[in-house]
Structures are given as structure tokens and as C-alpha cells.
């Protein structure tokens, strides 16, 4: 079985590499030192590289990911391009050219990462189709493509100028041409050494068998959470099982009664597959970490890790979603509202895997996702709120409100829902319900926010939801 990665066109072997080696460390050990370690937790993007991944608008899409989070074994059989592979100082890639001449680099340490994130957007097949606004250039460049890259020197303006100056790839651009053929198929990988093992089974049944035998196995998909544990907390799981390429976990269907989202689909993929058809999620996606993270992070992973400050749970709770859990014993459907049982604890048994997420249709007509954080791009919630409210003839028929960041688990704002249901949808009702909402959960003081701010934000969120709803009414009237 070959364990090689095609890097900048050359096949490089990964045999004998320790199991928990990150793609970043491996590349740097191979002399490809362009990608840097800035934070080792997927926050700064200095390690960004391009991977050929299955596309939605073309067979292959060049996808930017954080190399610091990925076990190198997870790239077995894949194609990777780094800043060095895009161009050289004698023959700059268009992205490199624009950044260089416009003052887009000062110390240069974050620059190779910016180059890769920018190149991914440069090669996005549908770039140019969108609107030009504050976050999109006249060339369709979506600034969110750079939301996971930090620069401490420039203040970003010249980087934006470089991004917005990019044209379309030339006809003879090899990386553009590569998009028209499919990416390499998923490899079946087994890498072992020094008491640890990395497995990428070929099929779901194989994974379930491993889980039945060894329920302590660490399941990874995009490794955006597991990678942080490896890098910052020194976690060295004896067995890592990769599930991100399993076809059974990458199913997607829309309607008529439900939306079925495969657990191993990434947030980026789901955003594009849904194409705005679930407005609540469409509002959530750009606020979920950064593009670099969304390119790796999966919806199953976000629910599997069961963090009280994950961004999908409040949204999915408001959508009344369920999860499909699968094991060798069979499948079962669990309502998300029942799924979380304690701090990072769920109903999922150790031998079970999240297969998919179900969102029932039709959707509630009034929805919103509010995220309170210090920073607008790529931050972790202090408080997150998802709304799904149905108003009929001026009365609230049903209200579902999901909360994050105010308790040990994500939760439904049951008291607030009750305070709204059956009442007229008026400012008076909302003010009373906002007072109820401010008392939901058991928020804590921490470095992100004080408990009193979190409580205040719950109440304010409902007032804001109502005010924004009124504005929409006025505009459409």
C-alpha cells in the first residue's frame, strides 16, 4: 500500500513518520519551510496549504486548510500545493505578484499562508459571480477566504488591495486546469509506529467494526479540534480513525420532508450545497470560525465534540434537528434537544458514530442566528442564539430558540419559548419574554465575557431579533 503525498507535483513518502506528526511539521522537515507555525491551533493561518479536494462546482477544488491541525497521515494519497509550489521568486504566481508589489508583506511570516488562502479563492470556480460589496471585490473575491489568516504588520489594507486586483487564471494555468479532473480517490491508510496507529478504513462497516472492538478510538474528520489537543495539550491517542472521506457520511439530500446532511461534510461544503435554502444556517456559516477551519471542520465533528460554545448546536436546536447515530447494532435517530447530556457529554455511545444530521421541513418562517463575540471574523462565541419562530395572524404559533455559551451544554430556551408561544407578536410580548430569556441558562464569568454580559446579551438578542424583523417588514411593506 502506498503511503505517499504528492507535494508540489512530487510524490513524497510518509512511511515511518510518527502517527501524530502534523502535516506542517512533516512539510517543514522535508525542507518546505514556507508554511509556518504561528499558533498551532488553526487560528492564524500561517500554515495554510492547498489540497485537491472533491469540488461542488468543478471536479476538483483547491481547498485551503491549516496544515498545523492535520495529521500528515490523513493526507495519504492526496495532492498538496504549498507557497513554494505556486511560484518562485523568479516566476511569481499572480497571487504572489500582487501581494509583493502592493506592500502585502512586511515581516513576511504570515505571507505564505495568506498566499495559499488567497490562491484557493483565486481558483474558486464561481468567483466573479457574486456581488461587489464591502466584503467582496470587483473580481468577486470573497474576503472571508482570508478570515482565518492573521497579519500583525500590515493592517490588511494592502492584502485586500492585492486580493481585489486578481484577474482570472490564465488559459495555461496548470492548477486551474487540474480542477477539471477529479481529485485522487480516498486512500485506505494504515500507519503505525511507537505505540500509536492511524487508520483510514475504506467503508463505514469497517469503521463500525473498529469502534465495536476499540471504542476508545479517536475519531477524526477535519481534525480541527483533535489537532488542537495534539498540539497544545499533548494528547497522543493510541488509535486515530479518519472518517472524513467515507461516502456513507457524505450524503446530502434536500426535501421534501427533511434535509439530510452527512456528518462528514465540511461546513464549507454544506454552505454551498444548501445555497441559502436554510436561511438560519446561511446566517451562521460565515460566523463559524474561519474559511480555513470550515474547509476542514464537519457538522458531525461539531456535534461530536459537544462543546457548549460550538456554533452549529444553537442553530440546529432552533431548526429542531436530529442526529442519526450508527453502530454495528444499527441506526437510531435522536433529537438534538435530547442529545446533549452534560459538559461535553452526549447520548452517543462509545461505539456509535454520527452518520447524518436531519433538519425537518418546512422551516419556521422567522429565523436568525446571533453570535456575540469580541471579533467579527473567526472568534468563539460568548453567547450564540438560534431562532426559529412561526407567527400566524400576528400570534406566535411556535418558538424554538437554541442557546450556546450560557450553560454546560447547548440548550433550548424553554421558558422563553413558553413566554412567546400563543402570545401576540408585539413589542410588549417580546419585552416580557426578553426578561425571561435573560434568566435562561447558568452563564459563567470567563476571559471571553462576564456572566452579567452573557445574560444581558440573551435578553438583548430577542429585542434585536424583533427589531430586525420589524425592519424587514417595513422594507417589504
Amino acid at each position: 500500500m502506498s503511503t505517499t503525498i504528492k507535494v508540489n507535483g512530487a510524490d513524497l513518502a510518509i512511511d515511518g513518520v510518527p502517527v501524530h506528526t502534523t502535516a506542517l511539521d512533516w512539510l517543514r522537515d522535508r525542507g518546505l519551510t514556507g508554511a509556518k507555525e504561528g499558533c498551532a491551533e488553526g487560528e492564524c493561518g500561517a500554515c495554510s496549504i492547498l489540497v485537491a479536494r472533491p469540488g461542488i462546482d468543478s471536479p476538483t477544488e483547491w481547498t485551503a486548510v491549516n496544515a498545523c491541525l492535520l495529521p500528515v497521515a490523513s493526507l495519504d494519497g492526496q495532492e498538496v500545493v504549498t507557497a513554494e509550489g505556486l511560484g518562485s521568486s523568479n516566476a511569481l504566481h499572480p497571487v504572489q505578484q500582487e501581494l509583493a508589489v502592493r506592500g502585502g508583506s512586511q515581516c513576511g511570516f504570515c505571507t505564505p499562508g495568506f498566499v495559499c488562502s488567497m490562491a484557493a479563492e483565486y481558483y474558486r470556480p464561481t468567483r466573479g459571480a457574486g456581488a461587489c460589496d464591502h466584503e467582496h471585490g470587483p473580481n468577486g473575491f470573497d474576503l472571508h477566504a482570508l478570515s482565518g489568516n492573521l497579519c500583525r504588520c500590515t493592517g490588511y489594507r494592502p492584502i485586500q488591495d492585492a486580493a481585489y486586483a486578481l484577474r482570472d487564471p490564465e488559459a495555461d494555468d496548470a492548477l486551474a486546469a487540474r480542477r477539471t479532473a477529479p481529485p485522487p480517490p480516498p486512500a485506505t491508510t494504515r500507519l503505525a509506529g511507537a505505540g500509536a496507529e492511524f487508520l483510514r478504513p475504506a467503508a463505514l462497516d469497517d469503521v463500525l467494526e473498529v469502534l465495536a472492538d476499540r471504542p476508545e478510538a479517536r475519531i477524526v474528520a477535519g481534525s480541527t479540534d483533535a489537532g488542537v489537543e495534539v498540539n497544545l495539550r499533548g494528547v497522543r491517542a493510541p488509535l486515530v480513525v479518519a472518517v472524513d472521506r467515507l461516502a456513507e457520511l457524505r450524503e446530502f439530500s434536500f426535501g421534501p420532508d427533511e434535509v439530510r446532511i452527512g456528518a462528514a461534510l465540511t461546513l464549507s461544503e454544506i454552505e454551498r450545497l444548501l445555497a441559502g435554502r436554510v436561511p438560519l444556517l446561511a446566517q451562521m456559516f460565515p460566523q463559524f470560525a474561519s474559511r480555513l477551519i470550515r474547509n476542514g471542520a464537519t457538522i458531525g465533528g461539531n456535534l461530536g465534540t459537544a462543546s457548549p460554545i460550538g456554533d452549529t448546536p444553537p442553530a440546529l436546536l432552533a431548526l429542531d434537528a436530529s442526529v442519526v447515530l450508527v453502530s454495528r447494532r444499527g441506526e437510531r435517530v435522536v433529537a438534538l434537544a435530547d442529545y446533549f447530556t452534560g459538559y461535553r457529554q452526549t447520548l452517543k455511545a462509545p461505539d456509535e458514530l454520527i452518520r447524518s444530521v436531519l433538519v425537518p421541513l418546512p422551516l419556521a418562517p422567522l429565523t436568525a442566528f446571533h453570535k456575540i463575540a469580541k471579533r467579527r471574523f473567526d472568534d468563539i462565541s460568548s453567547v450564540a442564539v438560534g431562532y426559529g419562530i412561526d407567527v400566524v395572524d400576528g400570534y406566535v404559533r411556535q418558538a424554538r430558540i437554541g442557546l450556546g455559551g450560557v450553560a454546560a451544554t447547548p440548550l433550548r430556551a424553554r421558558a422563553t419559548e413558553e413566554a412567546l408561544t400563543g402570545k401576540p407578536w408585539t413589542e410588549c410580548t417580546v419585552r416580557e419574554a426578553a426578561a425571561v430569556m435573560a434568566a435562561e441558562g447558568t452563564p459563567m464569568d470567563d476571559h471571553r465575557a462576564s456572566a452579567s454580559y452573557r445574560s444581558a446579551m440573551l435578553g438583548q438578542s430577542l429585542l434585536r431579533f424583533f427589531a430586525q424583523h420589524l425592519e424587514i417588514e417595513e422594507v417589504s411593506a
Binding site: 519551510t33 512586511q106 500583525r152 490588511y156 489594507r157 485586500q160 470567563d446
Partner: protein, 796 residues
């Protein structure tokens, strides 16, 4: 015009060139210190054992278990130090401490064949601690009277008389946070020993000479046995002025003891928990105003939170005291300064070096007092700007003070301030849940090291027989574009095309006894030294060319690779031919350059003199929009006019202004250092010790509209080619953002509301501020009257 500042025809300085390393940066080919590890054989990796206590005596240290971990080669402890066990220059920073002075303090280091082995080895080391009482917050240190270093006193005029005679007197207290540098490249050093025992340390350091000195004293060898090289840094911002020395010394010690190269690179958590930051300050003040809005007296006590050791806290404090006036004339001033000693990282240099902290005090008080005085804050600030005949409280004339007024009116005009103020009023009247505001703030920043001795620099310029030029200077490249400017200076002085000049990495065996690349002085000092070296060479070449040209050596000109006379019709020689001829005539083709800034004097004890060569000026206007539901905000537009003299390199300078501004905005609004000040088991632990918890500005914090202009006709007579320093001053223009946030929060309340705003002004802080303003709106008229009385403005 001085010969130092005079700019020849067809100068290469002044051209908007991209960074000299840009092509290497964008392709990943540029090498940083840690990129050398894979290119070096048999490297050992270092990992620290960090204290889990804020303050504790180490009663036992058992390193043997580490040696049971496969791959562990050596554990370094204090017993291994052959020289002085100290990482600083004040002898208060033991490299291997007997007493852990802060949570995260490294007490010993493990060297391993791999980083993983070193990490596991460090985990195996057993240390016993006897916890001791600790002081974490600056207020705790003040209450305990725990200070370090020398306190300072700056006084001018008769403050008591002025305060008692002032029409309005306010007093307040303001504690504000420090800032993590968060250079993208963490601290790193790679040390090797050669066959003669010579130590070669590659270090990410702003101050190679001091790194060299400290490595030498730790190893107990002379400076000539140690060479330090800095290829380039992945950002520094002051964080690598003092802090790299100890890490370099550990690597050098390990290399000396094992005979193998040793690499020490901190990961982000280690860097955040071990290295120093911008000082947070506590301030207490009393300010008097006359009826025309003039600040007639200010009395203040500044307490810098120095952390566990002195480091650069004394000069940081001195600069804070010298900049409490910012750009305002305060005829009567008394400032007392002191440095608290706390069980935290040793706070250190950070872009602005105390200047921002001093200025924040006066900008905060002006922002708070303006509504109470009945003035628009913008007008109050303009009224108090220095005028040309004024001098600072420490006695330095404010030369070119008129440029403040010029920058101010330029920003007002180009920023369309009046039109936008009217638009903002309309917006605010029609938007109950969102408010906008625009604020303008000035900056006056003194350029030169406060300590006069540091204001010197050296350079080494080689001209080879083929006419190519190699330059070397004492400054380091951290992204600020110093090397780009130095190439431009050399090309200009020698009159050769830029492509003929190459720059070699900064090394202590090329240029000795250098000062830190700091205090915005890099281009001023090193540029003048390079110019001096190039002029020596040019002076030797002129007679060589004069003969064939048939003119006097005085009339020989070097322009763009040609050597010619004064007139267009004169004969020409090529630069290469002249160099070739000079070699055969046995003319020395290289030179060492030197520069010392003239005219500086400073009495540190009396806090009087003229410590600065000149002042850099700038003005910014910032417009924000604040959301009334959450306190979240957006920076809508920024307009800046900055005085950089005649720019050496406009693209570089604009980059410094934009980057400095955004970094300053990060400090004041977003970046939130939190230490555990509870009495729990994690007391003293830095709670924000990762990129996921310590948030830097990202693309979402970039102003939607960002206009930066360089002040025109701004020749600076005392500096190289008429330019001015740019590295630090623009950071402080970000006060405009903070003041706009204050005003937008106030706009949720009745007119004339004075709003207290903590720093950083996070969305949560702004939310509580606007809630405060809203509740002021619920007070009746009597209360409103009460709010205007001086006594109400106290405490934060």
C-alpha cells in the same frame, strides 16, 4: 539645509519600492531562524519546565526521571552555568531561578533528540515548590507598596496654584491593560559551537549586540567569542528588544555543553506565558481647565505594572511621563512615576515604549471632561494643541509645532469632517439602536532613545572590484522595511542603481556595539551610518574620476551608475570603470560608517533636557458605528495625515502607518490580556494564552475606508535625507477609535453625557458604557445638573 538631510537629484530614496524581501516572503523562500533547523545536522531541541505557581520557592528539583525518557540528552539547570546566571542587564533576572516569580516561569530546560522527547522529558522532571504570597494585579502591588527600580518625578510650573485657580477641576482614576506583541514568529534561537569554541547564535532578536553580551556573560566568555546573527524576524514590535537574550543563552549553553546545535523555539503558549508584554498602567490624575477649554494644570501619578523583573520598565516609564502631554500644551504639570513589581511576565518594550500609556491618560481625561466642560471633544483637543513657541514640560522646544495644526486641518478637509458630522447627526436621530461618531486625535512623539548613549550606529560598506556593493549595518529587519530603506540610502549616496547594492544579514562580527533596532530610530541611525560610509568611499573615488573627466574632485557627481561633472554636457564615466581604476590605483574601496545623533542631552534624575532629535506628528479621524443591542462596533472610516519628513520609501511608510494604527486599535479595543487574579489554584495564570483566546485584529477590524496621507513639504533638517521616523508614532493615532467609541456610546444618552470607557474597549465594555449613557438619559434634570459637577467624575 544640512548635508545629512540634503537629497541629490535622481535619488533612489523617495521611490515607492516594495519590501526588499517581498518576493522571498510570498514564495516561502525567505528564511527565518527556525527554518534553518532542517538545514542543520544533529540539532537538539529544547523544552522548558514551567512553574505552576505565581510565586514559589523551588525546594527540590529532580531531573533524573527526564533521563529515563528515550531521546532526552541533557537537562540544563542553574548548576550548569559557567558564568553569570542572569538573562538581563540589571542582575534581577536569574536565567535559572531558585524562586519561581510568575506562573509559567521556566525553571530548567530539557534538550532532546526530538521536540517530542524534550517535551516528555520536561514532563518527567519533578519539582517541589513552596508557594509564597503573590501580587498579581497592579492595584494589589500598589496596596502592598511593592515597587522596583527608581521612581521619577517630572514637574513644570506651579501646579497647586494653577489647580486652585482653575475654573474647572476634575479628578479620576484609570487602570488600563497591556498588550501582547503576538509577532507571528515566536521567540527562537539556534546555537552552534565551532572547532575553536566560538559560539554562533542565530536569534530572532532586535538587539543582536545585547544578545551577544548576555550569551557571553552566561557562558563566562568574552564578547569576541560570541557571534549573533539575525536573518530577519517574523515581527518583533519591541518584544524582541530585551526578551530574546535568555532564550539565546539557553541554546548557547546547551550547545556548549553537548557540542551539538541547539534549537530553542517557543510554541505560542510558551511565548505568551513566558515573554513580556506592553505594560498595563494605573493612573490617578487631577486636571484643571480654564473657561475657554484650556488645560491649565495636570497632576498625575503613573504606576507601570512592571511584572517580576525590571527589564526595560524604567525607560518605558520615563517615556510615558515625557508623553503624558501628547500634543497638548500643559503649562503646569506634575507627574510622579513608579514601577510596580508583580508576579507576572516581565513587561517590556512594545511599539511606542510607554508613549502610548502616557498619552492614553490625557486622551482619556479629555474625552471624559469634554462633555462636562460643554465642549465638543474635537474642539477641546484642537484648542490645546502645542503652538510653535511652546516647550514641553521637560524643557524641549516643540519645533515644527505648526505641523500639528497643518495635519489637523488636512484631516478635517480631506476627511470631510464637517459634512460627515452632519450626516452622523442625522443617522443618530433616525436610528434608536445604532449610533455613530467621529473623533479626531493628534500625536506628537519624540524621536531618539531617551538614553543618549544608544543614539549611535555603525555600518560596513564594501565596494567590490566589479562595482557591486555589499552593505551591512547594525539594524535588524522585523518587517518594518529598514533594509529596503538602507538599500535606497546606499544607492542614493553612491549614485548607483538599486540593483548594484546587496544587503547582508545583521551580524555582530560585522558591526559591533550596536543599539537595539527600536525607538523608531532604525532608519535615522543606521541610514546616517551607511550614508557616512558611502560618502567616505565616494570621497576617495572622486579624485580617481576627476583626472579623466578633467574637472576638480569637488565637482564630481555620482548619479545612477554614472560619474560625471556638474553640467549636463560634461563627460561621463561608468561607475564600474571608476571602481576598476580605483582598485588599480590602490584606493580603499570599503569603509566603516558611524553616526551619533547630535544635540541631545538628558538629565534622567531631574527629568529635564532635550532627549529627542525631533518630534513626529500625526492626526487621525476615526468614525465608528456602535450597535445598541450588543456593544459591537465597526470601524467605518479612518483618515490619517502623518508627518514622516521627506519619506525615504513611501510604500514602506504608508505600510507602517496603517499597520501601526491597526495594532494600536487592537490594543485599545480588542486585545484582552487576562490574568487569573483569584485566590484559586490557578492564581497568576495567564487566562488568554492562545490565539483562540487572545484575539488580534483580523480582516474584520480593518477600517472600511482607510485613507493615509503623508504630510507634504515636511523636510526634516536633522535626519538622513530629510526623513522622519515612522515605526511607532502611528500606533497612537488609534486613540481616535477609542474616543469615537466613547462618543458613540454617549450618543445613546442625552447630550453632554460623560462616558467612562475601560481599555480595552471590547464590545462588552462598550455595551456597559452605552448602558451607562442610556441610564443617564433616565435621570431627571436635577441629576443631569449633578452629573456636570466635578465630583462626579472619579473612579472607573
Amino acid at each position: 539645509m544640512s548635508s545629512l538631510s540634503e537629497r541629490p537629484q535622481q535619488a533612489v530614496v523617495g521611490l515607492p519600492l516594495p519590501h526588499e524581501g517581498a518576493a522571498l516572503h510570498v514564495t516561502g523562500e525567505a528564511l527565518y531562524t527556525d527554518d534553518l533547523v532542517g538545514r542543520t545536522r544533529d540539532v537538539l531541541h529544547a523544552w522548558p519546565v514551567q512553574s505552576p505557581h505565581a510565586h514559589a520557592r523551588i525546594t527540590a528539583l529532580r531531573v533524573d526521571p527526564a533521563y529515563d525518557v528515550p531521546g532526552v540528552v541533557r537537562v540544563l539547570t542553574g548548576a550548569d552555568v559557567p558564568g553569570v546566571n542572569d538573562a538581563g542587564v540589571k542582575h534581577d533576572e536569574p536565567l535559572f531561578p531558585a524562586e519561581a516569580m510568575f506562573h509559567g516561569h521556566a525553571i530548567c530546560w530539557v534538550l532532546g533528540e526530538t521536540l517530542e522527547a524534550a517535551r516528555l522529558g520536561a514532563a518527567a522532571v519533578k519539582a517541589d515548590y513552596e508557594p509564597l504570597p503573590s501580587l498579581v494585579g497592579v492595584r494589589e502591588a500598589i496596596a502592598a507598596g511593592n515597587y522596583q527600580g527608581t521612581g521619577r518625578h517630572l514637574e513644570h510650573g506651579d501646579v497647586d496654584a494653577a489647580l486652585s485657580g482653575a475654573a474647572h477641576v476634575f479628578h479620576g482614576e484609570f487602570e488600563f491593560a497591556g498588550q501582547e506583541h503576538f509577532y507571528l514568529e515566536t521567540h527562537v534561537a539556534l546555537a552552534q559551537v565551532d572547532e575553536a569554541g566560538q559560539i554562533f547564535v542565530q536569534s530572532s532578536t532586535q538587539h543582536p549586540s545585547e544578545t551577544q553580551e548576555i550569551v557571553a556573560h552566561v557562558l563566562g566568555v568574552a564578547s569576541h567569542a560570541v557571534t549573533v546573527q539575525c536573518l530577519r524576524m517574523g515581527g518583533a514590535f519591541g518584544g524582541k528588544e530585551m526578551q530574546p537574550h535568555g532564550f539565546a543563552a539557553i541554546a548557547a549553553l546547551g550547545a556548549t555543553l553537548t557540542g551539538r546545535p541547539v534549537r530553542l523555539r517557543l510554541n505560542r503558549t510558551q511565548d505568551l506565558t513566558m515573554s513580556g508584554k506592553r505594560h498595563g498602567f494605573h493612573s490617578q490624575w487631577r486636571a484643571g481647565f480654564d473657561n475657554d477649554g484650556h488645560l491649565v494644570a495636570l497632576e498625575a501619578t503613573l504606576t507601570a505594572d512592571g511584572g517580576w523583573s525590571l527589564d526595560l520598565s524604567e525607560p518605558v516609564l520615563a517615556r510615558a511621563m515625557c508623553h503624558i502631554d501628547n500634543a497638548y500644551w500643559i503649562p503646569n504639570l506634575r507627574v510622579d512615576g513608579r514601577i510596580a513589581k508583580t508576579n507576572k511576565t516581565s513587561q517590556t518594550a512594545f511599539r511606542g515604549f510607554g508613549g502610548p500609556q502616557g498619552m492614553l491618560v490625557v486622551e482619556d481625561l479629555l474625552g471624559r471632561c469634554a462633555p462636562l466642560l460643554g465642549y465638543d471633544a474635537m474642539e477641546l483637543r484642537r484648542r490645546n494643541l502645542y503652538q510653535p513657541h511652546h516647550a514641553t514640560p521637560y524643557g524641549q522646544p516643540v519645533r515644527h509645532a505648526d505641523r500639528l495644526e497643518t495635519c489637523w486641518s488636512e484631516v478635517r478637509r480631506t476627511g470631510e469632517i464637517e459634512r460627515r458630522q452632519a450626516a452622523i447627526e442625522r443617522f443618530n436621530a433616525s436610528h434608536p439602536h445604532a449610533k455613530r461618531a467621529v473623533a479626531m486625535t493628534p500625536v506628537k512623539f519624540g524621536i531618539s532613545f531617551n538614553l543618549t548613549a544608544f543614539n549611535q550606529a555603525g555600518a560596513l560598506v564594501h565596494v567590490y572590484k566589479d562595482g557591486s556593493v555589499l552593505i551591512n549595518h547594525g539594524g535588524t529587519e522585523m518587517g518594518q522595511g529598514l533594509h529596503t530603506k538602507m538599500l535606497q540610502v546606499a544607492a542614493t549616496t553612491l549614485g548607483v542603481p538599486l540593483e548594484r547594492v546587496r544587503l547582508a544579514p545583521t551580524r555582530t562580527d560585522k558591526v559591533p556595539n550596536t543599539s537595539a533596532t527600536a525607538a523608531s530610530s532604525g532608519a535615522d541611525l543606521n541610514g546616517a551610518a551607511i550614508k557616512n560610509a558611502c560618502e567616505q568611499i565616494r570621497a576617495r573615488l572622486a579624485p580617481v574620476a576627476a583626472g579623466p573627466l578633467g574637472i576638480s574632485p569637488h565637482d564630481v557627481r555620482f548619479v545612477n551608475g554614472r560619474v560625471t561633472g556638474l553640467y549636463a554636457g560634461d563627460d561621463r564615466l561608468s561607475w564600474e570603470d571608476v571602481v576598476h581604476t580605483a582598485y588599480h590605483q590602490r584606493v580603499q574601496l570599503w569603509a566603516a560608517g558611524f553616526y551619533r545623533t547630535e544635540g541631545l542631552h538628558w538629565d534622567a534624575a531631574a527629568m529635564r533636557g532635550e532627549p529627542f532629535k525631533y518630534f513626529a506628528y500625526g492626526v487621525a479621524a476615526a468614525e465608528v458605528e456602535v450597535d445598541g443591542f450588543t456593544g459591537a462596533y465597526q470601524l467605518r472610516r479612518v483618515d490619517i495625515v502623518q508627518d514622516v519628513g521627506d519619506s525615504l520609501s513611501p510604500l514602506i511608510d504608508v505600510g507602517q502607518i496603517e499597520g501601526g494604527f491597526v495594532q494600536g486599535a487592537g490594543w485599545l479595543t480588542l486585545e484582552d490580556l487576562r490574568w487569573d487574579e483569584s485566590d484559586g489554584p490557578n492564581r497568576g495564570r495567564l487566562a488568554t494564552q492562545a490565539a483562540s483566546t487572545y484575539k488580534l485584529p483580523s480582516f474584520s477590524e480593518m477600517p472600511e475606508v482607510f485613507n493615509v496621507r503623508l504630510l507634504e513639504k515636511a523636510h526634516e533638517d536633522g535626519a538622513v535625507y530629510g526623513s522622519k521616523a515612522v515605526g511607532e508614532p502611528p500606533l497612537m493615532l488609534a486613540f481616535s477609535v477609542r474616543e469615537a467609541l466613547r462618543q458613540a456610546a454617549a450618543a445613546f444618552g442625552p447630550a453632554g453625557t460623560s462616558v467612562d470607557l475601560p481599555s480595552p474597549a471590547t464590545p462588552e465594555a462598550v455595551y456597559w458604557a452605552l448602558e451607562q449613557a442610556r441610564s443617564a438619559g433616565q435621570l431627571n434634570e436635577l441629576d443631569l445638573h449633578g452629573l456636570r459637577s466635578p465630583a462626579r467624575l472619579s473612579g472607573v
